[in-house]
Symmetry: C2
Subunit: 287 residues, 2 copies
């Protein structure tokens, strides 16, 4: 069990609340959605994420924990849950928590619209089944591909790439390639431009046949210098002057070669990845 303290405000001690994310699966969806919901309230949260809750005994333990917090604080712990088994679920909902079923809340209204009974199965949003094993293997293959084609390590098999990400060192190429593979099963290669390339920067001949797959990343010189400084303190590599020079050269190359590019300074790897998918018209598979 994990206990996390997230301070969403420092205003007032009375605005503190305990929160449980409970699931018969990984609890990743409950956690992500619950955080999105809670971020709208000015409260301080102590959160407990409880995955793989699929026995009555485990549910009873959690109910005891929830009830003890209620007894102590006189405030209902907030519970976001997703559990298929009626027996296990009813134990959680009979606790003193304020319980919301993150999936069923949306299923009930749909039932009327679709005109069909829902058939709750142990759905395992983030699970493996015979049905999705082939897809899962493709996703693992995409991770292998990203690793084999990271940082220009190999320029072979680029015809298998769905996107080839270009940019200077530490602008976000590797995490983006890995996220595209991990979340969407997209085969992404990436290629770095280094300080040595800068004298006469050109698009490498090996990449030219794949012009339509190229996507550039750029970043503010200040943020790049800060990131590089973490890696090699007081180096030429991390100097603002060098960062400025490399970024100016590479951005000029992107423009000259009509390569779409994105400034990553204010974006997370999720945002960069989905913007690339959107911009390149790639298929967004779900796992």
């Amino acid at each position: 069990m994990t206990e996390n303290h997230t301070s969403q405000t420092q205003e007032n001690e009375t605005l503190e609340r305990s929160v449980f994310f409970i699931s018969d699966g990984t609890a990743i969806t409950a956690e992500v959605l619950g955080h999105a919901v809670l971020s709208q309230f000015p409260i301080t949260v102590t959160s407990y994420t409880l995955p793989f809750v699929n026995s009555k005994m485990r549910a009873e333990e959690i109910k005891t924990q929830i009830n003890a917090i209620y007894l102590e604080t006189q405030l209902k712990p907030l519970v976001f849950y997703s559990i298929i088994s009626d027996e296990v679920k009813s134990i959680i909902t009979s606790s003193d928590g304020f319980c919301q079923d993150i999936v069923q809340t949306l299923v009930a209204p749909l039932q009327q619209e679709i005109g069909l009974e829902p058939k709750p199965e142990l759905h395992r949003t983030h699970g493996l089944s015979k049905k999705n094993l082939g897809q899962y293997d493709a996703r693992i293959a995409a991770i292998d591909y990203a690793l084999a084609h990271d940082d220009g390590v190999s320029l072979r098999n680029l015809e298998q790439a769905q996107v080839i990400i270009l940019g200077v060192s530490r602008c976000g190429k590797t995490p983006t390639s890995l996220y595209l593979a991990m979340q969407f099963g997209i085969q992404a290669a990436n290629y770095p431009f280094t300080a040595d390339d800068m004298d006469n920067l050109q698009l490498p001949a090996a990449l030219k046949p794949f012009q339509h797959k190229l996507f550039g990343l750029t970043i503010s010189p200040e943020r790049l210098a800060a990131i590089r400084e973490e890696r090699r303190e007081n180096s030429r590599y991390a100097s603002l002057r060098q960062c400025r020079l490399e970024l100016a050269e590479v951005e000029a190359l992107f423009r000259k070669n009509k390569i779409n590019y994105l400034n990553t300074t204010n974006y997370s790897v999720e945002e960069i990845s989905t913007k690339i998918i959107d911009s390149m018209g790639l298929k967004r598979r779900m796992f």
Copy 2:
């Protein structure tokens, strides 16, 4: 824009429905939750994921698209959305789709329980902000760490690892290490046992000081052989006999050294990762 066809049943043509996942952010949460909800109905789905919808013009385009599908099929497209701007949101909800707000549906009941007004901001569940930049950098550092300590490449700085994953080649060590880093910011190293180690399999001396950080992965010999066959067809490496031998040796080592281990045959990388977090009592950070 991406169009996906997911056949959730092959029963009947009339059970087909168009679905939209719409967000002013990455649309990852809308997509994941929407799929979990829809998986409970025996329908065939054509889905459209539309991220970064944050202008009235873009919303009007989407409304036109939704209305056209309704006009053609006489069935309301199902819309799962998360949009903060009231102006943009009202355009979507005034369409002919059956619209559900994935976040606000859970916010409204909470408002009463907490007794505070929600303050919807452009929350960017998967976004970057000044508030979480430090956390984000830690996450990227965890990815760097996983790559630098993949497959026993480096046994230095193992004291910085939160977990060291052990197992034979292709049992899931690399994707698991990367997922732990990407999703949870956990620093995971991994170490492979190879065919050459099998004659006299022992825990490497370099790992012994970190006994409490070790976690083993195993897998069924049949699944391992199938995965290895993809990589090196008809090799000794991929033979069922070799897979059986390696797995038996490594599992014996796990037992002898009292190392917790997990059979990954039927688990996804999300499940393996969250089970490791649970079993090792690691802090589950949210990004």
